[in-house]
């Protein structure tokens, strides 16, 4: 398994739970690194069930949203499932404004997301 700088990766059953190291996901280098680590989970490590827990995240720029969209495409291409949980109201507002809450499967908390796989 690859080492991760931007992510904390764990397993709950056959679901890979991912948490973010950074509270603010905004600078270009971090976003590139984050995207690379997320994509590796799907493309190299072939993980099929991914849960991204956003509990530590209190800022997300549109560039980071772009990486999540690309991740979603890669997961779907592998016939996998991607869910998000623990998104703070300020961050959820960004998903709602951009209508990305219609694209992504967003649950309130990790337990609810895990049960939905």
């Amino acid at each position: 398994m690859a080492a991760h700088r931007r992510l904390e990766v764990s397993e709950v059953g056959d679901v890979t739970v991912v948490r973010f190291v950074d509270r603010k996901i905004l600078d270009e280098a971090s976003i590139q690194e984050l995207g690379h680590e997320l994509f590796q989970l799907v493309e190299q490590e072939k993980r099929k069930k991914l849960l991204l827990n956003f509990s530590k995240v209190d800022f997300l720029s549109s560039a980071a949203l772009g990486k999540l969209i690309t991740l979603d495409k890669k997961v779907k291409a592998q016939s996998g499932k991607l869910k998000f949980s623990n998104i703070r109201p300020e961050i959820y507002e960004v998903f709602a404004i951009t209508k990305l809450n219609k694209l992504f499967d967003i649950k309130d908390d990790e337990a609810g997301a895990l049960a939905a796989f």
Binding site: L26, D27, E28, A29, D58, F59, S61, S62, A63, L65, G66, K67, I69, T70, D72, K73, E90, V94, I97, T98, K99, L100, K102, L103
Partner: protein
């Protein structure tokens, strides 16, 4: 605008690398917090400023380190005014597709201006599109 009681101003040039705007962003956000702007307001302004700076650096100046971005900002307890100007040729904001259209949802880019407009009271580009002015006004506070 000129007779408003601004309590803080800044004006500077930053290089065209996306990390360069963080210092001025932190200064602005610090001033807003000191002026008792709410966390929700500060979060929205942070996002709008971040998007505008990245647009100027990445799209306007094409990340050319020989080009600079001019940032001017004024803050008070009730208003924020910011101007961001790049050295690029400009663009027409009306040409940016609506990122919320169903066939655009899966496009990874193109959300910056929408987010700027969502969180700021006013977003205006100059005629050629290489300069944006954004304002945020707080609702009137009860006396």
């Amino acid at each position: 605008m000129s007779d408003h009681a601004w309590t803080w101003r800044t004006e500077l040039f930053i290089p065209s690398e996306t990390g360069a705007g963080q210092r001025v962003l932190e200064d602005v956000l610090g001033q807003l917090a000191a002026q008792q702007w709410s966390e929700h307001e500060v979060h929205g302004i942070h996002l709008a400023l971040e998007e505008a700076l990245v647009n100027a650096i990445r799209h306007g100046n094409r990340s050319d380190i020989n080009k600079q971005v001019h940032v001017a900002c004024k803050v008070s307890a009730s208003k924020l005014w910011v101007q961001i100007r790049d050295e690029g040729p400009g663009f027409n904001p009306d040409d940016v597709p609506d990122c919320t259209e169903p066939d655009r949802l899966e496009v990874p880019s193109g959300r910056g201006i929408m987010l700027m407009r969502a969180f700021m009271s006013r977003v205006e580009y100059n005629e050629c599109g290489n300069c944006v002015v954004m304002e945020k006004e707080r609702p009137s506070m009860p006396r």
